[in-house]
Symmetry: D2
Subunit: 367 residues, 4 copies
């Protein structure tokens, strides 16, 4: 019986990714195997390859957000609404497969994304433990993983185009407490920024301005819903401040969403936001260096809110699916992903992601 599965394994930081053969596991009750349609190579994977995340148990099978078809289901497996999932269902799953639900982060602070026991597909599980990553022909969905059927209207391409960036963007919009008519500036036109701009638009923002580069991403930003785009490479910070003030009667943006990961973007956002506004900081997944902040001018006198936004929770995953279904007609999420790379081309995919020559590199492990 076809008991083996190919997967791409990252043996260690900066070492070439290799294709290895894995045995399909026996399934305990309540678990399932997903036959991968698409996985993604996102910024996190580049960080993993650079060895910038701590505590990663290399070798690993990368790939956290993934979609495909339920290949085998053992016992009753249900989605969050209690509906049974069946073999053949098009599906996706929430990549955080364990949080303890008992620690102070989970219970008292209600910040489960800061649970010390948090485990994430493609990041925190060793390849020695099995098929816990999306860069593989099949992914093992252990009991308890939150699985959802893909709505009929949501293609695999749209789901993976949204990918982890869309889930982060749902969390960002929640943290932003956007009000009807707000002017929103999004810094960064990568996968997170593009989805944040789209969601701000469909959540009632009065004006959405995306600052980023290169021109091709800005063009996509417009398609995603940005009213106005500003090329980071062709404008000065002063010009961008003038533009934002000009669009806001001199006041500045109600909400600035930082999805750029640059210390300069954080600094600039503090200038672009209005008094009493909010900056959501979501692009600094790793340490990109320090910023210079003036507590008087930027925060205290501005009566400003600055809100960090880390990871996503189940509700952001489910809301991302709902947003794809609801708004997929107007927001072309499927355009975010590249032509898929085969497993054999995975090092090229990683290189492309590192060089940012594609917005998001996709992986099709069966091509």
């Amino acid at each position: 019986m076809s008991a083996t599965v190919l997967a791409a394994v990252m043996p260690a930081p900066l070492a070439a990714v290799e294709i290895r053969e894995f045995r399909e596991p026996d399934l305990p009750r309540g678990s399932a195997m997903l036959r991968t349609s698409f996985a993604e190579v996102c910024g996190t994977d580049v960080h993993l390859w650079h060895g910038r995340l701590s505590g990663v148990p290399y070798p690993i099978i990368p790939g956290h957000v993934t979609t495909g078809v339920l290949d085998r289901v053992r016992g009753e497996v249900t989605d969050s609404a209690g509906r049974e999932l069946r073999e053949g269902d098009r599906a996706a799953f929430f990549d955080v497969h364990r949080t303890c639900g008992r620690c102070l982060a989970c219970t008292v602070d209600r910040t489960p994304t800061r649970c010390p026991s948090r485990r994430v597909y493609g990041i925190t599980d060793s390849a020695a433990d099995g098929l816990f990553g999306g860069w593989a022909q099949k992914v093992y969905l252990e009991p308890g993983v939150i699985i959802a059927r893909l709505p009929d209207a949501v293609s695999f391409e749209a789901f993976i185009g949204g990918g982890c960036g869309l889930q982060t963007a749902v969390h960002i919009i929640e943290r932003s407490r956007l009000a009807l008519g707000d002017t929103v500036v999004v810094q960064g036109a990568g996968a997170v920024g593009l989805s944040a701009a789209a969601l701000a638009r469909v959540s009632g923002a009065g004006l959405v301005i995306v600052i980023g580069a290169p021109a091709s991403r800005l063009e996509l930003a417009r398609k995603m819903g940005a009213d106005e785009v500003v090329d980071l490479d062709r404008t000065t910070a002063g010009e961008r401040l003038t533009l934002v003030r000009d669009r806001t009667r001199g006041r500045g943006a109600d909400v600035v969403i930082e999805a750029a990961g640059s210390p300069r973007a954080f600094e600039e956002g503090l200038e672009l936001v209005r008094d009493g506004g909010a900056c959501v900081i979501a692009g600094h997944y790793t340490n990109a260096g320090d910023s210079t902040v003036n507590a008087h001018r930027h925060i205290n006198r501005k009566h400003l809110d600055i809100r960090g936004c880390w990871g996503s929770e189940v509700r952001h995953f489910l809301a991302a699916l709902a947003a794809l279904e609801r708004h997929g007609g107007e927001v072309p999420w499927q355009l975010i992903g590249s032509t898929p790379y085969a497993l054999a081309e995975i090092n090229d995919a990683l290189a492309a992601a590192e060089a940012m020559t594609v917005t998001k590199a996709l992986v099709d492990p069966w091509s």
Copy 2:
């Protein structure tokens, strides 16, 4: 007719304050004269003297928060609850005497402390316009000023000891969204920090730690309600971090209140606060220089909230009065103010405030 009033006038930044004689004004209907019992010399006045606030129409009569007895009342003058105020009443007033109520800050953003038309006794009115400051034997309360009778249980000394710092502290506590049992670190043991510590205590904080100096202020901090005090001059930042972690099961403070006005304090607060916690920035009334912040480590990964807190609104003034009445028995606000200075000693009072040899210099213009 005792038609003249003495007042201290600051002619220009860094120029000696002078005592001048003013004519008592005719009162329009709805206005009143307050016979000053105490005014304060607070940090704002030192900033005024250093010329660090923009748009100040020198010469001015400084002194924003002030208390005394209603000397004359013309027509019906009522408090916020509609109760009539009478000559002879012990009273205080909200020092912000005008906000427009029409601009976007007042209406849309609900941040009236950022209204461009905001006018504040002791700061934004020229001495040429009359008795608009507390360093005077009498203060003119123009129609529309929010006046409140001092509750019987609140002495002039307690009110002025709380002074503007207490009103700011009420706003800080509101911005902190303190939950029952939270660990609160207050940075700074000046008038704002002392009142913030006291209010955190009576608002259900589980542990209140004050970091400051010198030892005499820390002793006062304990009397105000701090559970623990840390001498800034005798500890390193590393020791303080160890202490806060030790008191919080390794997590850090739920809430950090910055009332120190130092760029280093802001930086340190970002270390002291727990993941998912909140830092309220309230001490940077003027520009004390830049801070170095790491957007990844301090904000994004911490899922942190940083909230600037600027000025006070009417509700903070009224809540300050209520807090003095309710908690005056346990919190010795009257200990914050110094032995009062006479008008003739006003330059000494200013020097003492500048040198920080007193926590707050009081002024008794009739002594």
Copy 3:
């Protein structure tokens, strides 16, 4: 000197409305005259005619939300962003022309719509005091009234179609704290309900269901953005509950917006909403009778939020204008208003509004 203006005066409850001639007033500095393009006859006016509001100083000129052209401007008159308004500008104004800004409702509670001194065009001013209502060829805009230029993209018809209902709907959406993807049930397909459905749709609701009657209004509800409409007259409460549960995986709506003004609608909303959801009560502008509520089943065990929503504030007025500009292309607000009635036909207009044969009766005082 065209010194006279025609206005419709309601002499007393249930008395026929009469056309009277008024002298145009001399304008104090900071005031203006608006040449009325359209006023509306809304439910409030029917209540006024029935004498159901207390403290109304009959005779009055009804008509609170109104739009037209600035006919005369005396001195500098600016909008909330500080931009000068000029004669000839197409304009609208916020109908609440006075709140005290001093009372506890205005300052402490931040509920200015409950200020005892609140005055509203068309409701709280006697015709003896002048042209303070929209059922007139011109309206006197006293100093301090919040006036806004109509954006170029917003027609008079669209503005008045939105009218007071749209401003209320902005407030409702704010109170609802709608999250991306929420299922929203709107009870009532009148001017408020239609705009609430439209705003819920453009604010990111995942599904918008409108319950109302008659069929023509439901058809309009679809055009405004409802995904699904339910005819109140052709369904039972049980059928509606089944339908809402069916659309929400058995849970009920995240948000129910009551804009029907019926005690039965309030009761039904408590059934339709999910555990932990929110009901916003906005349709009970007058007393339509009591409802029967089970505190255990409807509120306590449901862990429900019920939120009353009264009147609008300046920010709702301004956000309504912004929404008209932003979303006017997709939301046909101009369809809400009827063919305009002339002043001479005003009793017909009132009768039509009372009989609810039109969604909203418009008044064109120059036709």
Copy 4:
């Protein structure tokens, strides 16, 4: 081998509770046995005996909130802060021992108290499954139960005096969003109301009024922190309204906490609260009948918030422990419980709770 344990078993609704002998279970890794010091007979137990809760798998061992000493610990068992628990530790545990963490209530709505899989000691587990209730000499703490060491300063008597009522009260205070200086009316002087009054007091309430009966409970309410008590049996609703208005400058209470469980109390609370205030409904654990509410007068025009409050979460349990430690010196929680009943007297205890002749009947299964 002392392998047997006595427990009180409720065989069925309205049947006499019997003492039965249970075998001590073998402990799986991560579990523990608690040697009961005190359990409580609370209102829930009376409801259980009346058969008013659905889905209860009689026979059961009642007793949800319980405290004692860890008798046996198998493997590593830690508290929420990761500290190891040891045999001999004085301890308490969170009575909700399972929520799924996967359903929409747990994940999307963040209302885990509405999780359909929720299981609670003393209520949802059959005696056939083992020692899952506090009316027993020992309680089995299965793996995953949230256990906490009792702080040294917290006596068993204080913990059980607070009991489930205190945990509910923590949740109530969270839902109330109490602001410094607020006037709080607590309806009900039972275990929930008494703790709610105490917590309101230590959380910064400006005035705490408790309405209840009989006089002995009101006396205790004063000791717990109420500023004023009102005897329900000796006043009319009109008199109570007059009193509350009198204490609040005519406005009404900022917050009303309903902990009485009476339909009349809910109705009265809607009168007692001020415009723009909040009513928290927490006393209707079971269906006590319908209330009559006027949506116009009570909710819409009042711009009111009504918030149901159901059950407690881990953070409320932990905050209750912290409150006992912090405020136990000033708040005499130990006075709430009665002289303990022995297991043999358990039917007497139940009768006393039913008759409300004691505020809370305690059980000491070793006496």
